[in-house]
Assembly symmetry: C2
Homo-oligomer: 218 residues x 2
């Protein structure tokens, strides 16, 4: 597969996501920052290679094979994002561009070992799930931290209350977007939480927890 082919497959995957419905030529052209006529050319090629199902003027869907390819690219992209954040101190909003390049590196062993090196992460720094080697992956959902079950881990993806005092609190406690938070325990009495963040255990009140969005798996 060429670099360009991989980019098309990935974009078709993302556009067709959810209902995995058909994707229009124009939509692909916009994402690829190219012209619809170029997309037509490429779709024909991908169709001949069995990566997409295609009928003229009717849009495309990924074939079973195409989906497998797409998931493998997504897996690589997200594993590299974890690497950049966890090992190279990138922030969650700097990783995309570089991961976009790294996802095209071809070596099965590289990805297997990277996965192992990172401790087989389930989610990337944006809270999106990482497909397994065989292409399965859990759906991710957004939940308020106080609604996350004990024993689950999630990525901090947003706040409900964006007032300065709350943001200051987060800053003081070194809680930032993109941080991975693990819910260790919950106090029945007052709903306060015992969480683990950056390998540090801290306690936060229910009031805080009910204003922080996490993205969790399942």
């Amino acid at each position: 597969m060429t670099l360009s082919e991989e980019d098309y497959i990935k974009i078709i995957y993302h556009l067709g996501k959810g209902d995995q419905g058909t994707v229009s030529t124009n939509a692909i052209a916009e994402k690829m920052e190219t012209k619809p006529s170029s997309v037509s050319d490429m779709i024909k090629k991908l169709s001949e290679k069995g990566l997409v199902n295609y009928k003229k003027y009717q849009g495309v869907t990924l074939s079973e094979y195409g989906l497998k390819v797409a998931l493998s690219i997504v897996r690589k992209h997200r594993l590299w994002e974890v690497f950049l954040v966890e090992k190279l101190e990138f922030s969650w909003d700097e990783v995309h561009e570089v991961a976009e390049q790294l996802e095209h590196i071809k070596s099965e062993k590289l990805i297997d070992m990277l996965d192992k090196h990172l401790g087989f992460p389930q989610i990337d720094p944006h809270g999106d799930p990482i497909p397994s080697k065989s292409g399965e992956f859990k759906k991710s959902i957004k939940r308020l931290l106080n609604e996350v079950p004990i024993g689950k881990e999630g990525i901090c993806v947003g706040v409900k209350d964006s007032s300065p005092p709350f943001l200051k609190f987060l800053d003081k406690n070194k809680i930032a977007l993109g941080d991975s938070i693990f819910v260790v325990d919950k106090e029945e009495f007052d709903g306060s939480l015992h969480i683990k963040i950056r390998d540090v255990d801290i306690r936060i009140s229910d009031q805080i927890a009910s204003n922080l969005y996490l993205r969790i798996i399942e």
Copy 2:
């Protein structure tokens, strides 16, 4: 710079190495696994871009700018090799092909942070020196371990005595090609060495040390 241009620059660098003399079209063609006519085309392009000095039928040399580009590619290649061996458990003879791909990733921050993550290594798993960010680098030389000065580190690149008992000894002590060895101290009395390998301190006799080749810096 395109991928292909980078490959040409790197190959011209390696072929012109040492005396940094002129490199022939045929030699480049062989290394690139392409035809001399294709090389002529590309050389013309590289020359127009100011990366090489070129006179028809007279071979090429890297320009000052071309050399800088070459060194930056070599730096990336070797840092990735260190990463693969040190962090992902690749063996020294598996890394080349993957590093060949990784060296083309474009992100200054990525390389800076990778360098830091790896502890600013000076040599790659084959014992070759890693150019600094600004393009300087030390020459590497091959020395018998017993001739390596105290406080220096090197990569195990070969044996003088390749008899089964010696190889068995190396195996038993987990000393393998590609391992990094740091000379902690030397016993004046019998010439025995105190070395650090894979973060473990061991002591070896002069007889052993005088049959192991290291590649060291300076």
